[in-house]
C-alpha cells in the first residue's frame, strides 16, 4: 500500500504531514475522468494540495461565522454558510442533502437505542429473558433431533 499513513483512523507520523490518502484521491479522480483520459502523478499530488487548501479555506470561514454567532462548535450550518460566502453556492444543495440524510440516520439509530431503554427492564432482567429464549429454542432443537 502506498499510503504509509494508514487508512481511516491510522495515526500519522507528524501533524504537518497531514494530507488526504493518495489512493483514495487517485480512485476518485479516475472515476471522474472519461475512460480514455488519465491523470499524471504530479497532477494528482497537486490536486491533493488543492483539496487540503479548500478544507482550510472553508474551515476558516466557517470558524468566523461560528464566532459571529457566539457559538463554540463549528456546525454543518456554518459550513454551508461559508460555502455561500466563498462563492460555492452551487455546492450547497447537495451538501444540505447529505446533512439531511445524516440527521435522519442519527434519528433512526437513536430510535433503536430507545427501544432498549424503553423496555424499562434492567440489564440483568434482559439477560435472564435472553437466557430463557435460548433455553426454549435449545429445547425445541433437541426435540426435533429425536
Amino acid at each position: 500500500m502506498s499510503d504509509h499513513e494508514g487508512h481511516g483512523g491510522g495515526a500519522p507520523g507528524t501533524d504537518d504531514d497531514l494530507s488526504l490518502p493518495k489512493a483514495t484521491v487517485a480512485k476518485m479522480i479516475a472515476e471522474l475522468l472519461p475512460n480514455d483520459v488519465s491523470c499524471a502523478k504530479d497532477t494528482r499530488d497537486l490536486v491533493i494540495e488543492c483539496c487540503v487548501e479548500f478544507i482550510h479555506l472553508i474551515s476558516s470561514e466557517a470558524n468566523e461565522i461560528c464566532e459571529q454567532e457566539s457559538k463554540k462548535t463549528i456546525a454543518p450550518e456554518h459550513i454551508i454558510a461559508a460555502l455561500k460566502r466563498l462563492g460555492f453556492e452551487t455546492f450547497t444543495a447537495e451538501v444540505e442533502d447529505v446533512l439531511k440524510d445524516h440527521k435522519q440516520q442519527v434519528k433512526e439509530r437513536e430510535k433503536k437505542v430507545g427501544k432498549l431503554e424503553q423496555s424499562g427492564l434492567s440489564e440483568e432482567e434482559l439477560a435472564r429473558q435472553q437466557e430463557e429464549l435460548f433455553a426454549a429454542s435449545r429445547a425445541k432443537f433437541q426435540s426435533t433431533q429425536q
Binding site: T24, L32, S60, F91, V95
Partner: protein, 165 residues
C-alpha cells in the same frame, strides 16, 4: 475497469484533523466533517472537470499539472489556489516563467542604454552595432532613425543591444 459508482469517500477523521490544524478552529460538530467531505467531493469534481477541459483543448489524453494551472487561472472560484499552482512550469515557454521579473528585452535595454529610460519606440541607437564607428551622443527619443548617419541601418530592430558588432 473503472467503478463509476462513486462509492469512494474521503476519510472523515482525517478531514477533522486537517481542520483542527488551524489553531483558530476549536470544536467541530460530528456532522461537520461529513458535510465537508461532500463539499470536497464536489470541489474535486469541479477542479478535475476544469483541468480536463484544458487537457482536451490541447488534444492530450493525460491531465498534466499545467492543465490544472490554467484551469485555476481561468476560473474565478479557484482564485485561492493561485499560489499553489504558481510553481508549476508552463512548457509552452520552455521552462519556468518568473512572472515577477521583467521580460528579458526590457531588462537588457535598460542595462545597455540607461539614457533610453524614456524609451521611445523601438528606436535603435545603432551605436553598439557599429562598434564605436559613430558615438552618437544625442538623445533621440522620438526621432526617426532614417538620419543620414545610419546608411545601412534602417532597421528598427528592438534587439539591437545584443548585437555587439
Amino acid at each position: 475497469m473503472k467503478n463509476k459508482n462513486k462509492q469512494t469517500k474521503f476519510p472523515v477523521a482525517r478531514i477533522k484533523r486537517i481542520m483542527q490544524k488551524d489553531e483558530e478552529v476549536g470544536k467541530v460538530a460530528q456532522a461537520t466533517p461529513i458535510v465537508i467531505s461532500k463539499a470536497l467531493e464536489l470541489f474535486l469534481g469541479m477542479i478535475i472537470a476544469e483541468a480536463n477541459k484544458v487537457t482536451a483543448e490541447r488534444g492530450s489524453k493525460k491531465v498534466e499539472a499545467y492543465h490544472l494551472k490554467h484551469a485555476v487561472e481561468n476560473v474565478e472560484m479557484l482564485d485561492f489556489l493561485k499560489e499553489i499552482v504558481e510553481a508549476v512550469p508552463d512548457p509552452s515557454a520552455g521552462g519556468t516563467i518568473d512572472l515577477n521579473a521583467e521580460p528579458p528585452e526590457k531588462e537588457k535595454k535598460r542595462r545597455g542604454k540607461g539614457k533610453r529610460a524614456e524609451g521611445g519606440a523601438a528606436a535603435p541607437r545603432k551605436r553598439r552595432r557599429k562598434g564605436g564607428k559613430e558615438e552618437e551622443e544625442e538623445e533621440e527619443p522620438e526621432q526617426e532613425q532614417e538620419a543620414d548617419n545610419y546608411d545601412n541601418n534602417g532597421r528598427q530592430n528592438a534587439d539591437d543591444d545584443e548585437w555587439d558588432g
